[in-house]
């Protein structure tokens, strides 16, 4: 029987018993022990925890000031030296949900303590905070108060004792984190089992739900490339020998810009491919095969286009996270606009 967990409870003005909407601008304040709704929560956590302080904030005050209150919230919580923070439940209240999420994310990230709050899954605050804290699912209104408090205390107890926490058992909103678990059945067994259910038109649950991918509409084509500046971009991983900018061979996270210095082709003595997704032998024999500088110089001489950009842009995709691709694409585009390019040729593998 170790010592009991020290819990700080965050409530808004209403659930703290300090008034209704007229008190929504209440500044942040702290009380010793449990207050208002917290007394019911205290009864549930009694066996393993004590609410040592209650932090109270007016819904408008906190929602309007937002992250400006970071330091103040941190100060008011840490003075109680808590092991855990519980906020709400907020049900479907947008401002209250935001405040609960904010307080939890500050306590969680700055103090490294577990935090639990509770909201209706459609509360607008869910998407903002579901990754930073555990949001137990509630009903839309306070009708589900008993159930919400019970679930909060169960999950909180599991977290404080470093027990397992999963969305099914503890009824919280998925955070989007992934974990590998050992299954009693092999993947092949599960595949055949799932298929037989599907064939028999029995209900089954896929282990992976795929998102739909957005389509990027390309801009209209140029009527002519004559007199235009063309830039060369490649995903093929061709970089100066020695890979000075440490371009990763898989799951690319950066790009680099290399001056062509009037070169007419890319020689294998000066360039190599570091791409991890294909057999790079042929490209290493002649890097022009992936980054066609030689062909482009000929076309430039023939006047098919005006001028080749002075540098080429290099990266590796190979499972590049979409966020990185957006960031890199945007950075290259800004650069090209600044340097007067009109079009770009991208080679990829």
């Amino acid at each position: 029987m170790g010592k009991k967990a020290r819990v700080v409870h965050y409530l808004n003005q209403f659930f703290a018993g300090l008034g209704g909407e007229e008190a929504a601008s209440l500044v942040l304040q702290s009380r010793a022990g449990a207050a208002g709704l917290g007394l019911r929560l205290q009864a549930l956590i009694q066996p393993w925890g004590d609410i040592v302080a209650t932090l109270i904030g007016g819904d408008n005050y906190v929602a309007e000031k937002g992250e400006d209150l970071d330091e103040e919230i941190l100060r008011l919580i840490s003075v109680s030296d808590p092991d855990l923070l519980i906020a709400g439940p907020a049900f479907n209240s947008g401002r209250y949900g935001y405040s609960c999420g904010l307080v939890c994310s500050i306590a969680g990230s700055k103090m490294k303590i577990p935090t639990v709050t509770a909201m209706f899954p459609e509360n607008t605050a869910v998407e903002l905070f579901r990754k930073q804290t555990f949001i137990v699912k509630t009903t839309e209104t306070v009708r589900g108060m008993d159930e919400a408090l019970t679930k909060i205390s169960h999950l909180a107890q599991s977290l404080i004792s470093r027990g397992p926490a999963d969305p099914e058992t503890h009824s919280y909103i998925r955070q989007g984190r992934r974990r590998n678990i050992i299954s009693p059945h092999s993947v092949a067994e599960r595949a055949v089992e799932m298929l037989l259910k599907k064939v028999a038109q029995k209900p089954f649950k896929t282990e992976l739900e795929l998102p739909s991918y957005d389509r990027v509409a390309p801009p209209p084509p140029l009527a002519s490339l004559k007199h235009r500046k063309l830039a060369l971009i490649s995903e093929s991983g061709v970089v100066p020998k020695g890979n000075p900018d440490r371009i990763l061979s898989t799951r690319g996270d950066r790009h680099a810009k290399y001056p062509l210095n009037g070169l007419n082709d890319l020689s294998k003595d000066l360039f190599e491919s570091v791409h991890g997704g294909y057999s790079t032998g042929h490209v290493n024999e002649d890097p022009d095969r992936a980054v066609p500088l030689d062909a482009l110089r000929e076309l430039e001489k023939e006047g098919v286009f005006g001028k080749l950009h002075e540098s080429f842009y290099a990266t590796v995709g190979c499972g590049m996270p979409v966020e990185n691709a957006r960031r890199i694409g945007s950075a290259i585009a800004q650069d090209l606009i600044k340097e007067g390019a009109h079009a770009a040729l991208i080679t990829s593998t």
């Binding site: 989007g176 992934r178 974990r179 590998n180 678990i181 299954s183 595949a191 282990e207 795929l210």
Partner: protein
């Protein structure tokens, strides 16, 4: 076709004067194996080691795994096309040494930027089935001046020779047990049980990223039908040495194919095993679509399948092959299930997509796990093989944090994994 596998269990693996199997123990003659490597002019100084389950050891740069098998009755010989003989295989009787694997380790020349290790202890060992087997490790070094491809060919040839030598130790001895695999023609399509076919995708795409079918590189292979027993005799062999484990199928797994075994296990009980279509995943969208159309046609009209299991060999671009096969098969009236692994950050801090392609028809997916889970591996007492060279993931004898795809045997893309990725 009917194939009997004579099972010779290997409970103990140790050195002996000559290679022989006796009462569940396999003794390996070092000199006999060393002679194989010495005879190959492409190889430099090679090594042979033993690693047993639970031993505090790490094997480095693992490129393939084999199970020793030798044919005693029936057409052809094990590893047709690569060990002499081009007769078709899959019937008769084949001896199997069960409970062990022969692993090919390379010097680091081929894997260069990748990591592929096998730990026999610790968290990493729990994620792969190979840590439960007695391992005979063949460590290969190339002669200087030899190209990577020549080195890869030497590894494949010598590994197969060594595997066959070890398997021959079972000749003339009675097995501990026999497993029978029999599948006739899909004659009358009974309506009692659903007919399930497996679409066996391979991915030959370049030197050291190749798979062999009866000794022929499968680049350009158009979909065709094989009898599931053929792979039990080594008809499909890997030379996917440059790839991390999640992007390939190793030779041991081809021989002990999890989907094939599961379909056989339930054959006649709640399904009928219609058969297997094998195809290579090509590089262009047009070729991918052509192959998928043909695979679906064969499954539906040659095998009479009501439903198919689809699994790939390959990396992200082969997720497109999974999706186009799914669409073509569903388009022919067959239900589909896909085996796929995820490759996403653990804390979902990036807006990763779990697969590189998507289809609204892909509503039944079984996941082998998330191969980017960060795994802490401990310091080990013994290292077999060369330390990793240019790899972006540095691990040697000491403690390290690795992405799980560095572990040989974890996340088998054809269903041998016992892992599952959940979202929490």
């Amino acid at each position: 076709m009917r194939l009997d596998l004579n099972i010779f269990p290997v409970g103990r693996l140790s050195w002996g004067a000559k290679t022989c199997w006796q009462d569940g123990s396999l003794y390996v003659g070092r000199e006999e194996l060393a002679a194989i490597f010495a005879a190959d002019p492409r190889l430099g100084e090679c090594g042979i080691e033993i690693a047993r389950p639970g031993e505090n050891v790490r094997l480095m740069n693992v490129v393939d795994a084999f199970e020793p098998r030798v044919k005693v009755e029936g057409k052809g010989g094990v590893f047709p096309g690569l060990n002499g003989g081009l007769e078709r295989v899959g019937d008769g009787t084949t001896n199997v040494l069960k409970g062990m694997a022969i692993l090919a380790l390379e010097s680091g020349e081929i894997l260069d930027r990748r990591t592929s290790i096998l730990d026999m202890v610790g968290r990493a060992s729990q994620m792969t089935p190979f840590s439960s087997l007695n391992i005979l490790a063949l460590f290969f070094r190339q002669k200087s001046g030899i190209s990577k491809k020549e080195f890869a060919d030497a590894i494949m040839t010598s590994s197969i020779k060594a595997t066959c030598l070890v398997a021959r130790s079972t000749l003339g001895q009675p097995p501990a047990g026999v497993e029978r695999f029999e599948l006739g023609l899909p004659s009358t399509r009974g309506t009692d049980l659903p007919w399930i076919a497996y679409i066996y995708q391979l991915n030959s795409m370049g030197d050291m990223r190749d798979t062999f079918f009866y000794g022929q590189n499968t680049r350009g292979l158009l979909p065709t039908i094989i009898h599931p027993n053929e792979v039990m005799d080594g008809a499909i062999v890997s030379q996917q040495y440059e790839r991390s484990y999640t992007s390939k199928i190793d030779s041991y797994t081809h021989m002990n194919h999890p989907v094939i075994h599961e379909l056989y296990r339930r054959n006649g009980k709640d399904l009928r095993f219609a058969g297997v279509v094998v195809t290579n995943n090509p590089q262009t969208s047009k070729d991918k679509e052509r192959c998928a159309s043909m695979s679906a046609k064969l499954a539906r009209f040659a095998l009479g399948a009501d439903a198919v299991v689809i699994a790939k060999e390959g990396g992200g671009q082969c997720d497109s092959d999974l999706m186009v096969h799914c669409e073509k098969c569903e388009g022919e009236g067959m239900r589909t299930v896909i085996i796929a692994h995820q490759s996403v950050s653990e804390d979902a801090s990036e807006s990763d997509f779990p697969l590189a392609d998507s289809s609204p028809l892909a509503d039944a997916i079984v996941t082998t796990g998330n191969d980017r889970e960060s795994v802490k591996v401990p310091r080990v007492e013994r290292l077999i093989g060369a330390p990793s060279g240019l790899s972006e993931v540095r691990v040697n004898q000491g403690e390290a944090d690795l992405p799980a795809l560095s572990i040989f045997g974890a996340f088998s893309s054809v269903g041998g994994s016992w892992l599952r990725c959940i979202e929490i």
